[in-house]
């Protein structure tokens, strides 16, 4: 087993043991529930404004998973062992991010289907919304890796982490919401893909640089 595979498998197992996607999904549905409570159940209004709000709920749900991402590894000495691996830390961090996306991001994307329907999205748009959420959560993971690595040594870093990560969430939210509201879908999906790829490539690099500093 390569260091990448070993890390990926372990992270999946740990996420699963920690409740898996249960809590983030609960957060996702809970945040969605607040939307009509805040806006009123008027269908016409929700049809216009509702679908993009799935992105707010997805961003919040993802944020909730980020705080302990590297904190535990820093505290229990696992980060040291990652640094001693023959594989570059960037690759190991990428494996952690990939596991986070598979275990949390994809379930959120799939759960986006019932959420979008609840927010009055037209049925034909739902598959695109799910696809865009899959890409968007990948971009969120990339940004989240950076925020989690920078704040790994800070106790109760939730708010600070959100402050750092939210400007990085802005582009995926903009393009994902555009898909959700059916405007310029083709261009939006293309750029969203670019955001996901950029997050996947740059997130581990910046996160690894920060983690090396945290280990010192």
């Amino acid at each position: 087993m390569s260091p990448f595979a070993a890390t990926f498998r372990r992270e999946l197992a740990l996420l699963w043991a920690g409740g898996g996607a249960l809590a983030p999904l609960g957060y996702f549905f809970g945040a969605t529930m607040l939307v009509p409570l805040a806006m009123g159940p008027d269908r016409a209004l929700l049809e216009v404004a509702g679908p993009p709000l799935v992105w707010i709920a997805a961003a919040l749900a993802m944020l909730a998973m980020l705080e302990r991402l590297f904190q535990a590894d820093l505290e229990d000495g696992s980060l040291d062992q990652m640094l001693l691996s023959p594989a570059p830390l960037e690759l190991i961090v990428f494996a952690k991010g990939a596991a986070l996306w598979v275990a949390i991001g994809l379930p959120l994307a799939i759960a986006g289907a019932p959420v979008a329907i609840a927010l009055q999205a037209p049925l034909e748009r739902v598959p695109l919304i799910v696809a865009s959420l899959a890409l968007g959560t990948a971009a969120f993971v990339g940004a989240g890796l950076i925020g989690a690595a920078l704040t790994a040594s800070v106790k109760r870093a939730g708010v600070l982490l959100a402050l750092i990560v939210l400007p990085l969430f802005a582009p995926p939210v903009i393009f994902g919401a555009s898909v959700a509201s059916g405007e310029d879908v083709g261009a939006a999906l293309t750029i969203l893909t670019a955001c996901a790829l950029a997050g996947a490539a740059l997130g581990p690099i910046a996160a690894a640089a920060a983690l090396r500093l945290q280990a010192e």
């Binding site: 950076i146 750092i164 802005a170 582009p171 903009i174 405007e183 910046a206």
Partner: protein, 240 residues
């Protein structure tokens, strides 16, 4: 010049006179620029006198980005050469840049109220500026949250570089978003083209902001260095 100033002792000697000089220069330029802008420049043909707030708003916008660019340079030096003064400079500049961004946001809001009838207008530039402001806040907060100063400096430097990559992407995204949602916008926050007569007060104010940034950043750096000296002395005392 930077190599000369890189020595902390020489920097302190330089900044001891440079900071007050820059501050005086800034005050002079503000004293010249503000009356010029508010009373002696031509009113904007579309928005009349309320457009005069542009002279406060536009330079603040320019320099809020300029300060961030300065921080990016300092962060780069901090990561590559690990120089203490680069760390101090980046941290010292951040609150100045954040305040400039806040001034830009507030004046933009005030400008919008009589012009568009709303206290906040989500156009491309203001939204990007808001993201820049939040980025500043995150940077300042990260510095405060980490106890080890050296580690804080490097981590903040990484955050600043990440922000530098993010901000053009945000600008692109927000422009895309604003054309999507506001196809026909007659009054953009940039207003009409800048006439030659407007350049005078505008550049004066821009110069004033620049000198103010220089003065405030030097002053912040000096107090940071003084604080470090005190802390080092306390540390030595505790160890002896």
């Amino acid at each position: 010049m930077f190599a000369f100033l890189a020595n902390p002792a020489r920097f302190m000697a330089f900044s001891a006179w440079a900071a007050p000089v820059l501050l005086a220069g800034a005050l002079i330029l503000f004293a010249a620029g503000i009356p010029w802008a508010l009373f002696y420049s031509p009113p904007d043909y579309q928005m009349g006198d309320t457009a005069r707030i542009m002279y406060i708003h536009v330079p603040a916008a320019w320099w809020s980005m300029g300060v961030f660019a300065f921080m990016v340079g300092a962060s780069f030096v901090s990561l590559v050469w690990r120089h203490v003064l680069a760390d101090v400079a980046a941290r010292a500049a951040a609150p100045v840049g954040a305040v400039f961004a806040a001034i830009c946001l507030v004046t933009g809001s005030l400008w919008g109220a009589p012009t568009w009838g709303t206290w906040w207008e989500w156009d491309g530039r203001m939204t990007s500026m808001l993201v820049l402001f939040v980025t500043y806040l995150g940077y300042i907060a990260l510095w405060s949250a980490i106890e080890d100063e050296e580690r804080a400096a490097r981590l903040a430097a990484i955050l600043c570089l990440v922000g530098a990559i993010n901000l053009p992407i945000v600008k692109f995204s927000v422009d895309w978003w604003s054309t999507l949602h506001q196809p026909a916008s007659i009054m953009r926050s940039g207003g009409s083209a800048i006439h030659a007569e407007m350049l005078g007060p505008l550049l004066t104010m821009a110069g004033a902001y620049l000198l103010l940034f220089g003065a405030l950043t030097l002053m912040n750096m000096r107090s940071a260095i003084f604080r470090r000296r005190v802390e080092n002395a306390e540390l030595r005392k505790a160890q002896s």
